[in-house]
Symmetry: C2
Amino acid sequence: MAKISLRDKFSEFSEHWTPKVIAEINDYQFKLVKIAGDFVWHEHEETDEAFIVIEGSMRIEFEDYPTVEISEGEMYVVPRGVRHKPCAKEECRVMLVEPKGTVNTGASPGDLTAPNDDWV
Amino acid sequence: MAKISLRDKFSEFSEHWTPKVIAEINDYQFKLVKIAGDFVWHEHEETDEAFIVIEGSMRIEFEDYPTVEISEGEMYVVPRGVRHKPCAKEECRVMLVEPKGTVNTGASPGDLTAPNDDWV
């Protein structure tokens, strides 16, 4: 029952591509992630995924759609099953909203697969 | 598959206490609401509710807990079943995240009950 400061939570980690859970409603989680460079192509077979840019700018590339650029104060929903690749030229701070248990690399596990349910 | 600007969406309505849906993931919705003054005491029997302050400051009063003040860049989760009253001295812009179908006045319908699933 404590309020959550996004700025404070972002200050508690520095790694890139490792989503940190900051809050939960029912079986959904709010995660903060710092991104820089290119992520891996992947899709989430079981869920849509919301990206909300808190600071900076990022791009989401798609196989069959034009690349989307989202900046601070903008959000984007990647539909379930849609293959995508997040990337950012410079460090970008993002909040993700998705069901508990969603793995960052979806159906493409690899070196960038982060621990799940990792709270900060 | 279009990006969503919170600022643009907020510019499309001026009423207070009428949440407007801007995005959906699975069966959850992201809603923007402008609040000012006092809302009604209510609880949501079936769900937790996330408040994310986008601009300004607001308070959430509780019957059995201290009042919480949340400002821009802060969020708060009201657990299911917890009776609460949102309020704001000056207009505050908030994003709510909750399951589709959640009514703004929860178990206390009245004059401030807003249309549900009202997109902007």
